[in-house]
């Protein structure tokens, strides 16, 4: 069907992954940090589907379904913790919520 090499698909996944990693480092608002983790997970899922399509196996798609499940569970617990963070610290800035010394 497609005549593009599979490396292009993986390079796209790599580009999206590094954009997510870049955003994880720089942003300080907790929402954007959680969003960058979602970008990275989506990019890893894209890599799996490309690899699965290359080999003609359903495993890539199955792994993507499980990644989707994990992202949903993590986001729900993460957002509940964010709500508690806002109630206790009255801000969403992670540097302000860093009271224990590293």
């Amino acid at each position: 069907m497609l005549t593009i090499p599979f490396q292009h698909g993986l390079i796209l996944a790599g580009i999206l992954f590094s954009i997510g990693a870049m955003s994880l480092i720089i942003r300080r608002n907790i929402f954007f940090i959680l969003l960058s983790i979602e970008i990275m997970l989506n990019a890893a899922g894209l890599a799996f589907v490309v690899a699965g399509a290359h080999w003609g196996q359903p495993e890539g798609q199955i792994m993507f379904i499980f990644i989707l499940t994990m992202a949903a569970a993590e986001v729900s617990v993460g957002l509940a913790i964010v709500i508690q963070l806002y109630r206790r610290y009255k801000t969403l800035d992670v540097d302000a919520a860093n009271e224990m010394q590293g």
Binding site: F6, L10, A13, F17, G20, A21, L24, I30, I33, L34, I37, M40, L41, A43, A44, G45, A47, F48, V50, A51, G52, H54, W55, Q57, E59, G60, I62, M63, F66, I67, M70, A73, E74, V77, G78, I81, V82, Q84, L85, R88, Y89, V94, A97, N98, E99, M100, G102
Partner: protein, 480 residues
């Protein structure tokens, strides 16, 4: 999947079934003691159904799990660790003013996730077990969310666990692209063919190491450890330090021994560097801390470094040394955090060193228990920690890992300083009549009985470790 296969994974099924039963019981009748007893019964039944899985050969269950002797051993260790954590946290959670019963559900789910990791033979079960463990831990760390430090610890753990899961997944995708399979045994076979030894597989393994190193709190992935250990409630910290690390370490043993790490010298060098860095970093930074939980956090980084020395030993003693040291580490860690649990409440964690001042004059039994577990962590006779370290050193000598053994010795010597500092603080004579902020419980509570049993095990296994060593030798072959 027919009946014999189902019987072999019965412990996992019992753990999941207990969770469902607990949810139903809580829905109709919310009673703390009933929840506690159902959890205990479920864990004991799971432990009893373990011998179904013992056989002479490995058995694949639907290609994503494998049950053999070492799986059964580590499953038993994890279930016993969860049982001890449940018993220790009974009084602690009873004092929490919110919903108390969901704690046991989350604890059982985390143990189930760790058990899946131990039995896994495929990237899918690796990932799912890891995520069940992580998501349950997010809930457990923030469980009594009345204190701000719990939310902060949960946020730090969440962000780092999510990011390293994504990195781990990308590494798995790279390996899958080249080799076309996700099962550990097929990865070993197709990875050995000369056409597939390319740099993409190596990059995949490197990214996989990031995910594994985060869970095990190895240098340079260890920044979350002190803050999460300090911010989480004390019984949950004991659980993270033992069950979650034990599960991941067992998986790492299986994966890297199947794909034969010893044939790849760059991976060996990477792990050796991580081991040396962990041992030295953990011990040196712990010298500067004055918070007991942070001291124990940095010491756990060092202990995982010691375990890596045994992991890198390629002879027959290597896996057995790992198993024995994990047993010793579980008993000791749960005992140390159990002492902190017993004297803390969810509103007020007793974690500063000055709160332990002259503890032996106020509560001699608890101080003695803490002293014995600290001596075992330091590796001073007659404790089981010393036997564990001797075992690791023997495995290291058998494989001639001289640099690693040197840092093991240096690290242990430095470690004695800060462990003894806690002991000396406890034994200092009281200067004036100090207002005691600690609730000093009687030894006849559930937690007290468990702690006494653990202390007895530390000393008796230190003097006579032969029964455990025989069990390990019977169950753990050189190829897990």
């Amino acid at each position: 999947m027919d009946l014999p296969d189902f019987l072999k994974i019965l412990p996992l099924v019992v753990l999941a079934g207990t969770t469902v039963v607990l949810m139903l019981v809580i829905a109709f009748w919310r009673n703390y003691k009933v929840t506690f007893f159902i959890t205990l019964i479920g864990l004991i039944v799971a432990f009893i159904t373990l011998p179904f899985g013992v056989s002479n050969k490995s058995l694949q269950i639907t290609s994503i799990l494998v049950i053999n002797g070492s799986t059964v051993f580590y499953l038993g260790l994890l279930i016993a660790g969860c049982l001890i954590a449940v018993l220790l946290s009974y009084e602690y959670i009873e004092k929490f003013e919110g919903n108390r019963e969901e704690y046991y559900i989350l604890l059982l789910l985390a143990t189930l996730g760790s058990s899946i990791l131990v039995a896994s033979d495929h990237f899918v079960s690796f990932f799912l077990g890891l995520e069940i463990l992580s998501v349950s831990l997010y809930g457990l760390i923030a469980y009594p969310h009345n204190l701000r430090q719990r939310i902060e610890a949960a946020i730090k753990y969440l962000i780092l666990a999510g990011a390293t899961s994504a990195i781990l997944l990308f590494g798995m995708a790279l390996i899958y692209t080249v080799l076309g399979t996700m099962e550990f045994s097929r990865i070993a076979i197709s990875g050995a063919q000369p056409g597939n030894q390319n740099v993409m597989v190596l990059a995949g393994w490197g990214l996989l190491t990031v995910g594994i190193g985060f869970k095990l709190a190895l240098v340079p992935f260890q920044y979350w450890t002190p803050d999460v250990y300090q911010g989480a409630p004390a019984p949950v910290t004991g659980f993270i330090a033992s069950v979650s690390k034990g599960g991941m370490f067992a998986l790492m043993l299986r994966y890297f021994s199947r794909v034969d790490i010893f044939a790849n010298s760059s991976l060996l060098a990477l792990f050796a560097a991580i081991a040396v860095a962990s041992m030295l970093y953990g011990n040196i930074v712990a010298l500067m801390q004055h918070n007991v939980k942070r001291i124990l956090a940095y010491s756990s980084i060092a202990h995982l470094g010691y375990l890596l020395v045994a992991f890198l030993a390629s002879g027959s003693l290597g896996p057995q040394a790992v198993a024995f040291y994990l047993v010793a580490y579980f008993i000791t860690t749960l005992s140390a955090f159990g002492v902190i649990t017993l004297i803390s409440t969810p509103e007020h964690e007793i974690e500063e060193l000055k709160d332990y001042e002259s503890l032996v004059w106020r509560h001699p039994i608890l101080a003695t228990i803490f002293t014995i577990s600290l001596l075992s962590l330091a590796g001073i006779p007659p404790s089981v920690g010393l036997i564990g370290k001797i075992f690791i050193a023997a495995a290291g000598v058998q494989s001639s890992l001289w640099v690693l053994l040197g840092s093991l010795i240096v690290g242990s010597v430095i470690g004695v300083f800060y462990y003894l500092r806690i002991v000396i603080t406890m034994f200092r004579p009281p200067e004036e009549q100090v207002e005691s902020v600690i609730s000093l419980p009687s030894i006849y509570t559930t937690g007290g009985v468990v702690l006494s049993l653990l202390t007895f095990l530390i000393i008796s296994l230190g003097i006579y470790p032969l029964p455990i060593m025989q069990i390990i030798a019977r169950m753990i072959s050189t190829l897990p």
